[in-house]
């Protein structure tokens, strides 16, 4: 809207020979008018809630969401003393620590296997990649039926007696299975493209030098796709730390807190119980966790750059 006005302004300004101060002012602010719309939404729905969250976490907030007083670190002290918070942190970190290596291993393997375009390769490729378009909702509902201890097919076909989402010892692994599955399509495509970008001459040369296929993979191809690997590890870590949707649909944090993650805890305390200050604390902790992992990723990227 604004940008449209700016465009019109310059067009008319040019007709007046473009030397008036109006035109100069127009040209000066024009770039900002182009950027203003996206900036408004970035400010209103990303930066504002971000700062507000931190502000909330240091305050007493009533159920209407109004700040009544400043309390410093009291909220955090209370939060850290709660047992469910510790459980949520541990569940979230365990889920992340298992999810990322599993997803990376499996999708690297798939990407490398399907690198060469061969007979039936395109079919496998499409089949695997298409799973990335399946929504979390659809996937979670399918897993609920598939892993159902009585009517589900998996337990009876594999002869398992696992109660999956109904047992506090296995529920988290059920969630893990689903979240790993959801990540396969996207990461597979990333690695497939990365392996295909590896120069054939390099691998052929390594083969001629007498390296076996495993050696070529580990010492030649893997280092060459390491930028993609690093990117995938970072994005997957952040995604895994945010795990909440499957828990809302499948377990509601249970049985007995065994699948409560940080974002799920934030959702239930903030939206469910109206305790905005506490929810803000959880959000702040989650954010600091993701920031730590992002910085670690950037640091690793810098190191890799130095090594080269």
């Amino acid at each position: 809207m604004f940008a449209g006005d700016a465009g019109m302004q310059t067009v008319t300004a040019k007709k007046d020979n473009g030397k008036t101060s109006m035109a100069r002012a127009g040209r000066l602010i024009k770039p900002y008018l182009f950027i203003l719309p996206i900036l408004v939404f970035a400010a209103g729905f990303v930066y504002y809630p971000f700062f507000k969250t931190f502000l909330y976490s240091f305050s007493t907030v009533n159920v209407m969401g109004e700040i009544t007083s400043f309390t410093g670190l009291d909220n955090y002290r209370y939060l850290f003393s709660r047992r469910e918070f510790g459980t949520a942190v541990s569940n979230t970190l365990r889920l992340t620590a298992m999810n990322v290596p599993l997803t990376m291993f499996f999708t690297l393997l798939l990407g490398r296997l399907l690198k060469e375009k061969r007979f039936l390769g395109g079919l496998f490729e499409t089949m695997i990649a298409a799973t990335m378009a399946v929504s979390m909702g659809s996937a979670a509902l399918t897993f609920r039926v598939m892993l159902n201890p009585t009517v589900g097919w998996i337990n009876s076909a594999l002869g398992l007696g696992v109660r999956w989402y109904e047992d506090r010892n296995t529920a988290l692994y059920g969630i893990l299975l689903l979240t790993v599955w959801m990540g396969i399509g996207f990461n597979f495509l990333l690695f497939l493209a990365a392996f295909r970008n590896v120069d054939r001459d390099v691998t052929d040369q390594a083969r001629l030098d007498g390296a076996g296929p495993v050696r070529v993979f580990l010492s030649v191809e893997l280092p060459l796709v390491s930028p993609t690997l690093l990117y995938a590890v970072c994005t997957n870590t952040i995604l895994a730390l945010m795990t909440s949707g499957p828990i809302m649909i499948l377990t509601r944090g249970g049985p007995s807190w065994s699948t409560t993650t940080l974002i799920y805890l934030m959702y239930t305390t903030g939206y469910g119980s109206g305790n905005y200050a506490m929810a803000a604390c959880v959000a702040a902790v989650t954010f600091l966790l993701t920031l730590a992992f992002t910085l670690a990723g950037l640091w690793a990227d810098g190191k890799r750059g130095d090594a080269r």
Binding site: I35, G121, A130, L141, A284
Partner: protein, 280 residues
């Protein structure tokens, strides 16, 4: 010697196919399971041991139930409406900002670029509680705009478009301005059509992401008429019966638009994803 070589080659190909098959089938299995299960009846689900295939592929009863048990047609309309709104606004705003960053020189350029890209560092999920407060104060709960508004700022889209604009031939702009084009005419009539592949890719990505969104639409809608498909399909389980076959039919129905779209534009999507990963 040569024949032996040929046989070895064929054996290796067969082995490769077998390995890929063994890995690909578990990946696709949940989708196939949902599809097959959606044709089964409640009776078939209560039979033990659980079977995989339905007795008949002509049993569309569950699909009928998906659309009669809950207002699923309305949910599809809501999903389409909010998704279209997000796609349109997000891409337009990104195009405008990308144009400024690609073609103008101005004082705060670097700072503003970092400010916009910085939004990618703040995960949307940690912001939903405060955003819910904002949106409800604006009176936008239970509206399409309320569902869509938090996704309007697309930093990664802006970044990709800027890359595309920078790569477009410089002479294009000079020629257009010589012919009396203004910035807006040049941008929408010439530059965007030239960069159409990137724009379409980004639209597709935005479509799939928004169509599949769950947490935010769940929070910001509580009236039955305003739910989206993703939220709606989780409400197919009845209070007294589990309705496995209807749930699976709902899951399948919700999959159709994004998966079909994805398969049609897959090659383009792959290419742009690689570029994104490399530039990161």
């Amino acid at each position: 010697m040569k024949a032996q070589h040929g046989i070895r080659k064929k054996a290796r190909l067969a082995l490769w196919c077998a390995v890929c098959f063994c890995l690909a089938v578990p990946v696709v299995f949940p989708v196939m399971y949902a599809f097959l299960g959606s044709f089964r009846t409640a009776g078939e689900f209560s039979r033990l041991p659980p079977a995989l295939f339905p007795d008949s592929f002509l049993n569309f009863d569950s699909y009928v139930q998906v659309f009669t048990r809950v207002p699923m047609a309305r949910y599809f309309l809501n999903s389409l409406g909010t998704t279209a709104l997000v796609c349109a606004v997000k891409i337009c705003l990104s195009i405008l900002a990308a144009y400024a960053f690609a073609f103008f020189e101005f004082r705060l350029k670097d700072l503003l670029f970092v400010v916009i890209l910085g939004t990618m560092m703040l995960p949307a999920d940690t912001l939903i509680i405060t955003n819910y407060r904002t949106v409800s104060r604006m009176g936008l709960t239970n509206t399409w705009l309320g569902v869509a508004i938090v996704s309007f700022a697309g930093a990664s889209q802006m970044f990709m478009l800027r890359q595309a604009f920078v790569q477009a031939p410089r002479a294009l702009r000079d020629a257009a301005f010589m012919d009396g084009c203004g910035d807006m005419r040049f941008l929408w009539r010439i530059l965007v059509p030239v960069c159409r592949p990137v724009v379409i890719t980004l639209l597709m990505q935005a479509f799939v992401a928004q169509w599949n969104a769950y947490l935010w639409p769940l929070m910001v809608t509580d009236s039955d008429a305003m739910r989206t498909v993703q939220v709606g399909i989780t409400m197919l389980t009845g209070a007294e019966d589990a309705n496995y076959q209807v749930v699976l039919a709902g899951a399948c129905a919700a999959m159709v638009p994004p998966v079909v779209l994805f398969i049609t534009v897959r090659n383009r999507l792959t290419a742009s994803m690689t570029r994104g990963a490399v530039s990161d």
